[in-house]
């Protein structure tokens, strides 16, 4: 990993930690340490899986060149990374899946916002050409562009804050996780046309994430966990 990218990783991790700390202060039921470990582990697994898929797609043999896995800058397959991170998080939180993912979702979105805002430290915020008043340009360039990574950071931070508010008001387990997935997919889908890319991004995957997130949220609304019921717990001796 190059040091410029490390700045984005650091701002992402700082955003995640800040959000978890803030949420833990307002909701004493949360076990912040568990959530932190789940998110960081899932993030690292996602990054490794995304890099591995990018290497295979680029024709680089990962067995012959295992060191290339560390060169994250050379490309990470977003769809594979997201899928691996989500599956890892679900596996790690399996003991109390819906509640844990609900608690993770706002913090994860805020961490993602931090990752995007990290572009400020590595001079990588610019996207496609734009003549809007707030458009920026590269040093010495007459061409102004969308600061697309800041758009993404702002939208994700707003979504994180909204999800946290909704979680406190509507405690239907799974609802926030579903809405979080939808929000992440929507932000990515909306900002994708403003990103400078050589190839069309995995836009269908983002659309699929939105639909899947809405489906999970709708299912959660229909299947709320009864609060205050004894469930299957036998009488205490």
């Amino acid at each position: 990993m190059e040091f410029t990218l490390l700045w984005s990783a650091l701002t992402g991790v700082a955003g995640l930690y800040l959000a978890l700390w803030w949420m833990g202060r307002r909701d004493t039921r949360l076990c912040v340490r568990d959530l932190w470990e789940i998110t960081v582990t899932a993030g690292v697994i996602g990054l490794a899986a995304g890099r591995l898929v990018a290497m295979l797609r680029g024709g680089v043999n990962p067995v012959a060149h295992p060191g290339d896995l560390l060169l994250v800058r050379a490309g990470v397959d977003t769809a594979a990374a997201s899928a691996a991170a989500l599956l890892s998080a679900a596996w790690l939180a399996r003991a109390d899946l819906r509640e844990q993912l609900d608690a993770l979702a706002p913090a994860a979105l805020f961490g993602l916002a931090g990752w995007h805002a990290g572009c400020l430290f590595r001079d990588a915020c610019l996207g496609t050409r734009s003549s809007l008043p707030w458009a920026w340009s590269q040093p010495g360039s007459p061409i102004t562009r969308h600061p697309v990574e800041l758009y993404a950071a702002l939208l994700l931070a707003m979504a994180a804050w909204l999800l946290f508010r909704i979680r406190l008001r509507y405690p239907a387990p799974g609802l926030i996780a579903g809405l979080g997935l939808s929000a992440a997919g929507t932000v990515r889908l909306v900002t994708e046309p403003m990103r400078p890319t050589l190839f069309t991004g995995p836009v269908w995957w983002y659309a699929a994430a939105i639909v899947a997130g809405i489906a999970v949220a709708a299912w959660a609304m229909r299947h709320p966990k009864p609060t205050g019921s004894t469930g299957d717990v036998p009488p205490l001796q």
Binding site: E2, T4, V63, L71, A74, Q138, I143, F199
Partner: protein, 160 residues
């Protein structure tokens, strides 16, 4: 368990040994000098991307597939030149063969003198020039898709 570890270790060694090494049909790379390289840049009629690489450079291996894809997409608008530095002919040709970089225009700079004329050292290094040789961006280290796409757009736009 021990047998499994031994088998896996042998498979890893075999895969590592099998990787690369063949020069295929790649012809020897033409040697260049600082003056020739500067002339090539200054007389560029199209936007130019100059990628400095070496076969022993692991990050160069990582960015090679991206550069190959970019060259295939922008072939008609942008000239892509690879400058192989401080390397051997056979190793360089094997690298070109392994990553299918035959469509690139490659130059050979065994002493690194031509790269020195760019005023920047180290590999990988990617320089973006608008037509006429105006330097737009000098990118040190592995290049990512966003940086490559952004600077390709810059040099095309500034040349137009």
């Amino acid at each position: 368990m021990r047998r499994l570890i031994i088998v896996l270790a042998l498979a890893l060694i075999a895969a590592a040994c099998a990787a690369g090494g063949e020069v295929g049909d790649v012809p020897p790379l033409p040697e260049t000098s600082p003056a020739q390289l500067q002339e090539l840049i200054a007389s560029a009629e199209r936007p130019l991307v100059l990628n400095v690489w070496a076969s022993w450079c692991i990050p160069c291996r990582s960015e090679a597939p991206l550069l190959r894809a970019a060259q295939a997409s922008f072939e008609s608008e942008v000239r892509f030149v690879g400058l192989n530095v401080r390397d051997g002919q056979d190793s360089a040709r094997a690298f070109v063969n392994e990553f299918d970089l035959d469509d690139f225009e490659h130059l050979f700079d065994p002493s690194g003198a031509a790269q020195g004329s760019l005023g920047a050292g180290g590999v990988p290094l990617t320089a973006f020039y608008a037509s006429g040789g105006e330097l737009v961006e000098l990118h040190f280290g592995v290049i990512d898709e966003r940086t490559l796409a952004l600077n390709l757009d810059e040099i095309i736009r500034r040349s137009g």
